[in-house]
Amino acid sequence: MNKRSPEPGPFSIMVHKEMADHIHSWRLSILIALIVLTFTASMYVSLGHIRSAVADTKDPDHLFLYLKLLTATDNSIPPFHVFLSFLAPLLGISLGFDAVNSEQNNGTLTRLMAQPVYRDNFLLAKFVSALLIVSTLFIALALLMIGGGLLFTGVRMEPAELLRVVGFIAITIVYVAFWVSLSVVLSILFKQAATSALTAIGIWLFFTIFFQIVINLVVRAVMPDPAYLTQAELIRYNDVILNLLRIAPNQLYSDAVTTLLMPSVRSLGPVTMEQMAGAIPAPLPLKESVMIVWPQVSGMLAATAGCFALAYSLFMRREIRS
């Protein structure tokens, strides 16, 4: 709100209403329950495992207690950030897949658009309300994790650790934002909420499961036998494959999050022996980790912004009728 008027503007009223709708919906309650459940399970496992993880002096990250809480596991279940890489899309999809088409089918869209509100406010309200809820959820979880860790271990948190956890939360929110904006686009494209939900889930499944398989198949068909390649060529091919894999948003997310949560990760691509020579296996400073994941983060931001811009251009000039 830029104007200092005593009454809230239409935008904040719409955000308010959307958030109330989300909070009262079963859909969100179920997903939050699911996320809280996986969070609790992975925290439980990592807490049980934390003593040995911190005592493991061979691991350069062993002193980052709170990062260990998020990543340590005894391999019975995956750590929380891996869970999130496939639960977060589901959360984003569920918050956005029927944003526009359900209102259109109910006849509320026409009614709403006949009020003196800007069309973009409607889209923006859908997007912002979903993000506010997601941010609240993840910030609450992170604070719970920090508070719980403090209570159980009594170890002071390093500022670098806090910043890394905050970065992890921020990247997760951006990741969910991407799926929200993608599903909002689909909800504008498809008249039926079920179609847009299925399409969104299809895209999600494609990227989580089939994308790697497809890339592998293509590479196997196209790439010459590695035995006949020089090392430089091999590295170049490897780079191409990695970059192709990075088209998938979940790959970007797990790259970014892994680097942030494991300070000793130095590179996301192959590293040659020359580069490794003389390197001490020590955790990187935060700034260096951020430098490594910056392309991933900006890629996710760009994808989110692109989807949102597409939603705008589809929606702004469309004829509204029920």
């Binding site: 809230p8 239409p10 109910n106 006849g107 026409t110 006949a114 003196p116 509100v117 509204i320 009728r321």
Partner: protein, 315 residues
């Protein structure tokens, strides 16, 4: 003469090769109830959407309350209340909550809002149902809530798209009486679209007949019938107790009347077509001649006939 509150000039909307609205010119004065009458798919809803800036015209302009609806939709929507056909509500909210939301979006101050909402709910007669979820509402109740929705923003113009569709006859009557009262009391301009002739006939000051994107005629109902059937179109039919004998002496006498242009006799019925209203004179004449009359009917053209006539000429 005052500037018309709704001014459509050369309004055209083309979907592909189909012209949904074709060069529409229409002026509506303040305080008028105007009925936009036409069959389904005539382009009524498209016209209304263009008036609210919800769809862009291919050519022409729609000026409402002095603002261009295409370039200034927000200003128009502040003054115009629109009730779409098939009006929908948020099912998970109660009637009152739905209404309050629309009130807030229109910038009704928070301290006035409860009173204003209670007021409009009273007007449309939904006070008792205000805490019910709208999912349980019947069509008629939704229609009423839609009207409350329109009224809460205190509009200058009300646009109702098929407001009587799907309501039972008693409901329709009440609803139309409500609209008429509101218009008369508060000086509201009302534009209502319908394909239901009788409803339009009951309340509208003027009607426009709209067929496949073109406004074929507009005016009040008597004016329209005069325009359509010409001045010489008064039909009077008289029913006698007994069948009229075939060579009827009175027929020749009647044929000498200058006003009568056509006489038709069928068993015990006499039908005359004349350029003036001659019913009274005709009855007096027949009674004087000793005829036993059991029924007299003077035919007035209603919207039905007008509508029918336009369809015939259009097909």
């Amino acid at each position: 003469m005052k500037e018309p509150i709704i001014q459509l000039t050369g309004l055209t909307k083309q979907y592909g090769t189909v012209k949904a609205v074709d060069d529409l010119n229409l002026n509506i004065q303040q305080g008028e109830i105007f009925g936009l009458l036409g069959p389904n798919g005539a382009g009524k809803t498209t016209t209304i959407l263009m008036m609210l800036g919800l769809t862009d015209p291919t050519a022409g302009t729609a000026k409402v309350c002095g603002y261009n609806a295409t370039s200034n939709p927000i200003l128009v929507k502040r003054k115009v209340g629109y009730m779409p056909d098939n009006v929908g509500f948020y099912h998970n909210l109660t009637a009152l909550e739905n209404l309050l939301y629309i009130g807030r979006l229109n910038g009704v101050p928070e301290n006035e809002l409860p009173d204003r909402a209670a007021g409009v709910l009273e007007i449309v007669g939904l006070t008792a149902e205000r805490h019910k979820k709208t999912a349980a509402f019947s069509r008629g109740m939704k229609q009423r809530l839609g009207l409350a929705d329109v009224l809460i923003k205190d509009p200058e113009v009300i646009i109702l798209d098929e407001p009587t569709l799907g309501i039972d006859p008693v409901g329709v009557k009440d609803f139309l009486a409500l609209i008429k009262n509101l218009s008369r009391q508060q000086g509201l301009t009302v534009l209502l679209s319908s394909h239901h002739l009788h409803h339009v006939q009951q309340v509208c000051d003027r009607v426009g007949i709209f067929v496949s994107g073109k406004l074929l005629a507009q005016g009040d109902i008597t004016g329209l019938s005069a325009q359509l059937f010409g001045a010489g179109s008064h039909i009077t039919s008289v029913t006698f107790e007994q069948a009229v004998p075939h060579p009827w002496p009175l027929e020749t006498e009647l044929r000498t009347w200058p006003a009568i242009s056509h006489i038709n006799i069928h068993e015990n019925e006499l039908e005359t077509t004349s350029s003036k209203a001659i019913t009274a004179a005709l009855v007096r004449f027949l009674v004087d001649k000793g005829c036993n009359i059991t029924g007299v009917h003077q035919k007035n053209y209603g919207l039905d006939d007008i509508y029918q006539k336009y369809f015939e000429s259009n097909e």
